[in-house]
């Protein structure tokens, strides 16, 4: 059978970097082909070449066995290659239909006015094909991220795409939404669409993919069946075996309670939440997207106002008017969206590290003490093994894992005793993940109190000593990590109140 797309000996260089070297890849009609590799392995570059964003330096590309040059994103669309980027490019003030047919709006009889009815009808056809129950007139801003992603898929299909590239499509989805996405992917596969699926989530890939191609450092490593054991695939990705330490939970029951949260409430998002974290303890928060975990973290950190409740650090009640109060009390928050909330991406590494504690690095209370800032920046870079060419490297240019470390560093410098990690490994590759895990364990061993929020149940299970499960703003479970399983956590995460309003 001729491959839908075949790539042979493809190479691509950027100034100073060989991004791709002799890469092979092929996609059959009606298959889901997963592309795996650590960040910087070249997955995105390869996909951008297929989508016409970049042009290749060397090598061959065949579409249905015929050599082809893909010169622009528009050209790729015309060749029936659609890409769904990790960041969604939708206009939140327009409707789903208006987004899908942007730039291709059907015109009415006069050729002057837009035919809004046809627009919605055409969209409805697409949604029907996907078995998606959603009115085409819905404003994008009113949709969940998952639904927005469905709109992107519908948009790709509207170009009659035969090749669909998905870059980390489940990064922001909860389990129910992932199921819906997988249903649509399976259906498209049956219709003969070839799907390239990029993801870091191993379990997902084994469920949805037919074949897996692994890349490392811009090179092609191998293509294997999706049933290949995970350990083997990870070994191919990182080029070495990852250590898997026995899980050991220290006894922290006699330690001082560092953080004590009582009766925290805010509207429907947080309802009477109580918990404590002791010195040396790692407390996990599990739950579905929208269960209120991030809301609790932001409330404890003073980033959002609360209706009632109190937060004690070292037994003393702290005022919760702004993050400033929380930081002064020794609470640090590593937000789930590093680029938007955690890092000043345009500033350099040392400036980011010293941002919360800047007052300490001033001479006469006014001037920056640059040598002290360098010294503490260097100390943190060494201690956390942050990979950066220099302390003055702009944070935006670091990889996800190293950006995360910069955010951790800034709270360590500030001497925070309570650290809240919100989705600490989102968008981080496997190798960096295990380093972050080790770091979190080390910090706990040093006597910090740690809260970890994660949508990935294996991560919560792996990291935590104790796990709180949330559903619809309430805490529905408090279990030891030794007793918990993915299934038991899931059951708690979906334990809704009897008379709760139907969830949309």
């Amino acid at each position: 059978m001729t491959a839908l797309i075949a790539v042979k000996n493809l190479s691509k260089s950027f100034p100073g970097v060989k991004a791709l070297q002799d890469v092979q890849f092929d996609l059959q009609a009606g298959e889901v082909h997963a592309l795996m590799g650590e960040n910087g392995a070249g997955k995105s570059t390869l996909m951008k070449i297929l989508a016409g964003v970049y042009t290749r330096d060397e090598g061959e590309m065949l579409l249905d066995g015929v050599p082809v040059e893909i010169t622009s994103p528009a050209h790729a669309q015309a060749l029936a290659i659609g890409i769904i980027h990790q960041e969604l490019y939708l206009m939140s003030h327009l409707t789903a239909a208006q987004n899908i047919f942007l730039g291709r709006e059907p015109k009415g009889s006069m050729g002057l006015f837009l035919d809004e009815d046809k627009l919605n009808r055409d969209t409805q056809v697409l949604f029907d094909r996907m078995h998606l129950d959603m009115p085409p007139e819905t404003r994008i801003g009113d949709l969940t991220v998952a639904r927005q992603q469905m709109v992107e898929i519908a948009k790709a299909l509207s170009f009659k795409s035969r090749v669909l590239i998905m870059d980390e499509p489940t990064a922001a989805l909860n389990n129910a939404e992932i199921e819906e996405l997988f249903r649509i992917i399976r259906q498209l596969r049956e219709e003969g669409v070839g799907i390239v699926y990029i993801s870091h989530k191993m379990d997902e890939i084994q469920r949805i993919a037919d074949r897996i191609t692994v890349m490392r450092d811009g090179r092609y490593i191998n293509t294997v069946a999706a049933q290949t054991p995970m350990a083997e695939i990870i070994a191919m990705m990182v080029g070495r075996k990852l250590e898997h330490a026995e899980k050991h939970i220290p006894d922290t029951s006699a330690n001082e309670v560092l953080l004590d949260v009582r009766g925290l409430s805010r509207g429907r998002a947080i309802r009477d939440v109580n918990f404590t974290v002791r010195r040396g303890e790692i407390l996990g928060f599990a739950g579905l997207m929208g269960a209120g975990r991030t809301e609790v973290a932001r409330a404890v950190f003073g980033a959002d106002t609360i209706d009632s409740g109190e937060v004690r650090v070292h037994g003393k009640v702290i005022a919760l008017k702004s993050p400033r109060d929380a930081v002064q009390a020794g609470i640090g928050y590593l937000s789930e969206d590093r680029k938007h909330f955690g890092l000043a991406t345009g500033m350099d590494v040392e400036s980011n590290i010293t941002l919360p504690s800047l007052r300490r690095w001033l001479k006469w209370g006014v001037f920056l003490n640059r040598s002290a800032i360098h010294a503490v920046g260097q100390e943190m870079v060494d201690k956390l093994r942050i990979k950066t060419p220099s302390l003055t490297q702009v944070a935006r240019l670091l990889s996800g894992g190293n950006q995360q470390k910069v955010v951790i560093a800034k709270w360590l410098v500030q001497d925070c005793e309570v650290l809240i990690f919100d989705e600490p490994t989102r968008g981080i590759d496997v190798g960096a993940k295990s380093e972050i895990y080790k770091l979190v364990n080390d910090l706990a061993a040093q006597g910090k109190a740690i809260i970890v929020i994660s949508s990935e149940l294996p991560e919560v299970l792996h990291l935590s000593h104790r796990i709180l499960v949330m559903c619809e703003g309430r805490i529905t479970g408090d279990v030891s990590a030794l007793d918990a399983t993915q299934e038991s956590l899931m059951a708690l995460a979906t334990r809704r109140e009897e008379q709760a309003a139907p969830f949309h």
Binding site: P323, R324, G346, M347, R359
Partner: protein, 333 residues
Amino acid sequence: MSQDSSKASLWSRFSGGQAKQKLLAFASLLALILIFTALKPDAFMTQDNIIGILQSTTVIGVLAIASTFIIITSGIDLSVGVLMTFCAVMGGVFLVNWHWPLPLGVLGAVVVGALTGCVSGLTITRLKVPPFIATLGMMMLLKGLSLIITGARPIYFNDIEGFDQIALGSLIGDIFPALLIPNGVLIMFVMAAICAVILNRTALGRYTFALGSNEEAVRLSGVDVNRWKVIIYTFSGGICGVAGLLIASRLNSAQPALGQGYELDAIAAVVIGGTSLSGGVGTILGTIIGAFIMSVLINGLRIMSVAQEWQMVLTGLIIILAVYTDNLRREKK
């Protein structure tokens, strides 16, 4: 190790993208000067004309320094031109009407600027009015106040001994008689040097960049974002007060109808100097070069007897061209 890294960082500070931008702006300035010198050698490169150019850059230069801070935070201040006039007017009230001693009147004018900036900052942070609207309102309000206070008539400083020396005297000329550089020019360069240090070496400067780079990250770092914004607007307002003194001293009067439009010239100088309107990037040196590009261009065109209408057309084109070339350079990176 740390020795190495501090060396590396010093080098990158001076050789990085910002330095390249300044180099480009500086090259443009040199090119303009060479062109005008070649076309009108006997009129352009004379001592009188050079001092004229320096003199005419002072007010816009100082206003542009004030705007640089605001624009790096990704804000905008449309009131700087009219605030300058308001400070000049209040200086007139203090010195001429109320007979305050000169140093106190000068200080008073700067304090008026700072307080007004503070009010703008509070409007933006407490009332949550976007900077564009808050300072647009402030611009109209101040213009009206200036006219009300003066009865729409200029206040003359003829009887205030030494006031005209603020901008027109020459401390340097007193020491080196060959170098008759007016004090106004000296003040602009001193202000630039002080502000460059503040921008690059103090917490205020660090937060100015941080706010423009990612305000939410700064807030989540536990920094009181609102307080620092108010401080930055206050500081910028104080600099506008200095500009007010400079223009009043040069004209030896406070002209209440003057000032509107200066804010746009200042913003143009800032942008030509490589400061990004979306915030997080900018330098004082770039801004000063930008201000000089504007005044050299206007001066040169006037010497070549280009009609004033055409001067405006050309200036507009140059501003667009400057930002366009800057974009090209960024895309290449």
